[in-house]
């Protein structure tokens, strides 16, 4: 049975954001797992040709942010944008040559990350304004009081397979199950902000690094074992958090492709089903409508 929720009580807040430039410092280099220096593209700007459903790894990049990287110039307004935006929320480009083009939120990474269908992303660049129709924080499932929901838009929920089972558990389809050893940078931060980097998916052949996560894709729904992300991201044996991968390749050690968290609860509140189709690309978000 499809999960029922308090969706009819949720409000939509219209938020302004701006495509933020990639940032550097005058030293340029960062350090890979073996202590070698690297300088690669990744965060900020508009990253083309990597979309939901594409591999998360295999790029010569660091902290790859697919699509548009969006924030707000003012600190407090930016927190509003980062905290309230949910995965699957509708986005519209509000200035520049792509004005009116639609997109959808795929995650948070201290920026809101926006994917777009078609070719119009090529016409978007740093400084372009976007509008986010934020809806989802406060979402709660009627029959799963132990599961706390975050960053999950009703649109994404409607598209996800699974639901409430006869035994009372919530069935969630995931494309990968992640061990707690993989949890990297992002531990200890608020669950509504940025994401959890997963280690063990580096594009370097160095002993002892792999945790079998090299085949993750952007948009994959994953289960994080022994993680309680209800009120911030932390380790807790016997708990499970569900996330959605929104960032890709990292060379910076202790970092990697990362999920934003969408649910957390005791492990026995979930039935986890392995399903290669558990990817945002496979869900019908109905986001292609162009803004008049």
């Amino acid at each position: 049975m499809k999960v029922t929720s308090n969706v009819e009580r949720l409000l939509t807040q219209v938020l302004a954001g701006e495509v933020w430039p990639p940032l550097g410092d005058r030293h340029g280099y960062r350090v890979d797992p073996d202590g070698r220096a690297f300088l690669l593209p990744g965060m900020g700007g508009v990253t083309l040709d990597i979309h939901c459903g594409d591999p998360a790894t295999g790029y010569a990049g660091d902290h790859i942010e697919p699509g548009l990287s969006v924030r707000h110039r003012e600190t407090a307004a930016n927190y509003a944008l980062q905290y309230l935006t949910c995965i699957g929320n509708r986005v519209v480009v509000s200035s520049g040559p792509a004005k009116g083009a639609p997109g959808f939120v795929i995650g948070q990474h201290a920026y809101v990350l926006v994917d777009m269908d078609g070719d119009e992303m090529r016409n978007v660049t740093t400084g372009d304004q976007v509008t986010v129709f934020a809806r989802g924080q406060g979402l709660a499932f009627d029959d799963h009081p132990q599961i706390v929901v975050k960053n999950l838009s009703p649109t994404l929920l409607a598209g996800m397979p699974g639901g409430t089972l006869h035994d009372g558990r919530l069935e969630v389809h995931v494309s990968a199950i992640v061990a707690p050893e993989a949890i990297g940078a992002g531990a200890g931060m608020a669950s509504e902000y940025a994401n959890t980097d997963l280690m063990g998916a580096y594009d370097v052949a160095s002993p002892g690094l792999s945790l079998g996560l090299e085949s993750l894709r952007i948009g994959d729904v994953v289960a994080l074992t022994d993680q309680d992300h209800r009120y911030g991201r932390g380790y807790r044996a016997g708990w499970t958090s569900i996330g959605l991968i929104s960032t890709g390749s990292c060379l910076l050690f202790g970092h990697g492709p990362g999920p934003s968290t969408i649910m957390s609860g005791p492990s026995d509140a979930f039935t986890i089903v392995r399903d290669d189709g558990a990817n945002l690309r496979s869900f019908d978000l109905n986001t292609t409508e162009r803004q008049p």
């Binding site: 002993p207 002892g208 911030g232 050690f253």
Partner: protein
């Protein structure tokens, strides 16, 4: 940098006050709000040897945290200050008093310094403190083991010795990398790693400030990250935290392949760093 001489640099830090946002509350791992006490600043009544779970605090350190108002200068202060570095108070009622660096805290923002309790009581946020930094880049005791965040002069304070081509280290306990929370993925010259241990456990008995702890499958040479069969050893520099993903903090001192180490888990018998031994480094200068 084996063979090269480690460089000493005099740094200036300021006694921290501790920061709050507009809202007094933080949220613990069960969603309960709490007011964080002792998260930075001058903390009285918490000493090396105390249990990390004994007090109601959040990341409370045994002594004082030093900061710098200019971000870049603060990063240098944190990156270069090492366990065992002598400090001297330059201004305020405690001017002339000496203390010793214990370790550092997350964000590249805070150096933790141990003073005697009577000096601490005379310190005031904003007081200037000079740190005679030395240690980063110093030769390691064993070529295959990376040593960081400790002055050459302080190694003798720790239960660490080279035996049969390995580093023999006595620790309070051994924990797995999966419990490492905040600090993972960050440069270990500028951060500690928090252990997500909300209470004493079978593998980790009563953890005390100043203890040595070994973390398995953690490579802490540069950024901290998972690497199978690697070991990182550090000193416990601050007490526990109710925040999810946080907990008692460890400043990493040694990291290498596990075969380079012989780790003795000493449990209750472990003697961590004591205030007396640490402050003895500066006593003859009083």
């Amino acid at each position: 940098m084996n063979g090269a001489l480690a460089v000493k640099v005099n740094l200036l830090g300021y006694v921290d006050q501790g920061d709050f946002a507009d809202d007094p509350y933080r949220i613990d791992h069960d969603g309960r709000p709490y007011v964080p006490v002792g998260d930075g600043g001058v903390v009285l009544g918490l000493r090396l040897g105390d249990s990390v779970f004994a007090h109601l605090g959040d990341h409370a350190a045994p002594g004082v945290c030093l900061v710098h108002p200019v971000d870049d200068a603060g990063h240098a202060l944190v990156a270069l200050s090492c366990l065992g570095n002598p400090v001297i108070v330059r201004t305020g009622d405690a001017a002339g008093s000496r203390g010793v660096v214990l370790g550092k805290r997350g964000g590249g923002k805070r150096v933790i310094v141990v003073f005697s309790q009577d000096v601490l009581a005379r310190l005031r946020p904003g007081d200037q403190v000079a740190v005679e930094s030395q240690g980063q880049g110093a030769s390691s005791m064993l070529a295959d083991v990376t040593q960081l965040n400790i002055s050459s002069f302080a190694l003798s304070l720790l239960p660490v010795a080279v035996r049969d081509g390995q580093l023999d280290v006595g620790v309070r306990g051994v924990v797995a990398s999966r419990v490492v929370g905040n600090g993972i993925g960050r440069p270990m010259a500028m951060w500690d790693v928090d252990l997500q241990c909300p209470a004493p456990s079978r593998t980790l008995p009563e953890l005390r400030l100043g203890d040595l702890v070994a973390i398995t499958d953690l490579d802490g040479r540069f950024n901290a990250g998972y690497r199978k069969d690697w070991l990182s050893i550090g000193v416990v520099v601050h007490a526990s935290s109710p925040q999810p993903g946080h907990g008692p903090g460890v400043t990493i001192l040694l990291s290498g392949h596990m075969t380079s180490f012989s780790v003795r888990s000493e449990g209750e018998a472990h003697q961590g760093l004591s205030e007396e031994r640490l402050l003895a480094l500066v006593e003859d200068k009083e």
